[in-house]
């Protein structure tokens, strides 16, 4: 008898003693075989429902080739020129607009994985308000669309249709660098840093008065470019964050943890909450506070290494509950005491006891000027 035959015969004997006897008898002098069958029978007892769940379910995602778009690609009336940036959210290109006017623009193509229709719908909902924004320190968002809209060849029966389009945003082209980097590269004094920060406050205030919340203020969204030799900060991506922001859910916390850490450092306590019910203009003020903190001290209030190591839940707890250390570095020490107070004020835990001073942009910038 083979191993298989002995095993199967044994399965049909309920009485353990009889079963053992059967195996002994069937294997005869072959001890190896007997041990092997006895071992298999033991394994069978533990096997439970192993492999019983029929076919594996196939979880499938559309593979995400790193970048499909490249210089030369034409998207609607835009021709991509060169890649000028890449973030967690998408890739930014400098592009030539050909119609209705010829100019250079920045075109941000959102990475795959988002529902294009929803993103565009959210953007359209805010478009009117965005159009009303007119501020020298805000880079205008000019247009939004979906890649591969009508331009590509129609899908044929033979060829599966191309993967669904991805949303893109067209913005005023700002040839600048992040404000923190600009300040450090040029060794700006605390005073000069503050001078540069004030117009940022004005820009955000302007947007708030139009009812627009940025939601993702961080150094890479505040660029400094030279105009006539003078540094001018420009806040970019207004309206983009809202349109593309996925709710911070358990799922995103765990699946995209690495990608959103950079954003979380600037995130207000209420944003770090999983139900983002009460995001308002104060969230931006908080982020401005973090930015100011970083401009003056060279680091964010919560060390990003610590946050990264903390893991999703602990990280959200830190942002919500921990009191950030007061600025202590060389920059901060030489800065005026008021500044520290403003910074601390903006970062004040706003829930549940301590209301954060909210519409303080004008006041703070007034204090900063003194």
């Amino acid at each position: 008898m083979t191993e298989r035959e002995i095993f199967i015969a044994a399965l049909q004997i309920d009485n353990p003693a009889d079963r053992l006897a059967h195996v002994r008898q069937a294997c005869g002098a072959n001890d190896d075989l007997r041990q092997r069958v006895e071992h298999l029978l033991k394994t069978y007892e533990q096997a439970g429902s192993y492999l019983e769940a029929p076919t594996p379910e196939i979880a499938a995602t559309i593979a995400q080739p790193d970048i499909i778009e490249q210089p030369g690609t034409i998207i609607g009336p835009y021709k991509l020129l060169q890649q000028i940036g890449e973030g967690g959210m998408g890739t930014v290109f400098m592009a030539d607009q050909t119609h209705p006017v010829q100019r250079k623009v920045a075109l941000k193509i959102i990475k795959p994985g988002m529902d294009s229709r929803q993103v565009i719908a959210r953007f359209e909902a805010e478009r009117q308000a965005l159009a009303l924004m007119d501020h020298p320190n805000i880079a205008k968002v000019l247009d939004a669309g979906t890649t591969g809209d009508p331009s590509g060849p129609p899908p044929s029966a033979l060829r599966p249709p191309p993967s669904p389009g991805r949303p893109y945003f067209v913005m005023e082209l700002v040839k600048g660098i992040p404000i923190t980097k600009y300040c450090d590269d040029n060794h700006l004094t605390p005073r000069e840093r503050l001078e540069l920060f004030i117009p940022v406050c004005h820009a955000v205030q302007h947007a708030h008065q139009k009812g627009i919340i940025h939601r993702d203020i961080k150094p890479s969204n505040v660029l400094v470019a030279l105009y006539d030799g003078r540094p001018v900060p420009k806040v970019i991506d207004f309206g983009v964050a809202k349109a593309t922001s996925q709710k911070l859910t358990e799922r995103t916390m765990f699946t995209q943890f690495g990608q959103i850490v950079g954003t979380l450092e600037y995130m207000s306590p209420e944003q770090a909450d999983l139900n983002q019910l009460d995001i308002d203009t104060r969230s931006d003020i908080y982020s401005l506070g973090v930015l100011l903190y970083e401009l003056l001290t060279g680091t964010t209030p919560f060390d990003s290494e610590t946050l990264r190591k903390a893991g999703p839940d602990e990280m959200r707890r830190i942002i919500r509950e921990d009191e950030p250390p007061r600025p202590q570095s060389a920059h901060a020490l030489s800065a005026q005491r008021e500044t520290k107070n403003i910074t601390a004020q903006r970062l004040g835990r706003h829930k549940p006891v301590q209301p954060r001073r909210s519409s303080t942009t004008p006041q703070s910038s007034a204090v900063l000027r003194t």
Binding site: A47, S49, L51, T55, E57, I62, A63
Partner: protein, 200 residues
């Protein structure tokens, strides 16, 4: 007559070379089908391997002409093998990527398919299945039909030309054999396999 139907008919008539022509066709069709379905689905969508195999069958085989279960059996054997290859290739690729291996663009594949189980589990199963194929080809075939093509015991039995009762015992033997191989010789097991398969 479709290509696959022609091959199935040839197998029926005893052409020994026909069977080998079946696999690449079914493999391509399964990949294509998965890709097409996924284009219309959100990322993260799951597909049922069984459903894919069934769809491939409907599309490739003239069901009017192929009435014999024997022919269908040949088809499903090929489909099970194709599905096993697709899943294992993807698990291997996933593991490679996870280990920071090649970040180069993935060639022709428009899609990535992966069983939600950890890729290592599937690869371990596949390696054990390879050994079982050497030791007991019929038992291994049964596992492929059941696990990768989603056939019931009865369907698989018919495909293998054995009784459902025999097939059921053979199934118990095969899955025990595989589990034993995966757990290693000391029988302590590296992990709680049952828990995993219930979760998946």
């Amino acid at each position: 007559m479709s290509e696959v139907t022609r091959i199935l008919t040839a197998i029926e008539h005893g052409d020994p070379h026909a069977a080998s022509q079946l696999l690449p066709l079914v493999y391509d069709e399964l990949r294509k089908l998965a890709a097409q379905k996924l284009v219309h689905e959100n990322p993260g969508q799951t597909l049922q391997a069984t459903a894919l195999v069934h769809d491939a069958y409907i599309r490739l085989v003239d069901t009017e002409k192929v009435q014999h279960w024997n022919s269908r059996g040949h088809f499903f054997a090929a489909a099970a093998e194709a599905m096993r290859r697709i899943l294992v290739e993807n698990a291997r690729r996933k593991r490679r990527l996870r280990r920071g291996g090649d970040r180069a663009r993935i060639d022709i594949d428009e899609i990535e398919i992966a069983a939600p189980e950890r890729p290592d589990d599937l690869i371990a199963l596949d390696e054990a299945l390879e050994l079982l194929t050497g030791a007991d080809p019929q038992a291994a075939e049964l596992v492929k039909l059941r696990y990768f093509a989603g056939l019931t015991i009865e369907q698989a039995a018919e495909s293998l030309g054995i009784s459902p009762r025999t097939a059921n015992f053979l199934w118990q033997y095969a899955r025990t054999w595989l589990l034993d191989k995966i757990q290693g010789p000391d029988g302590t097991g590296v992990r709680d396999v049952n828990k995993k398969s219930e979760n998946s």
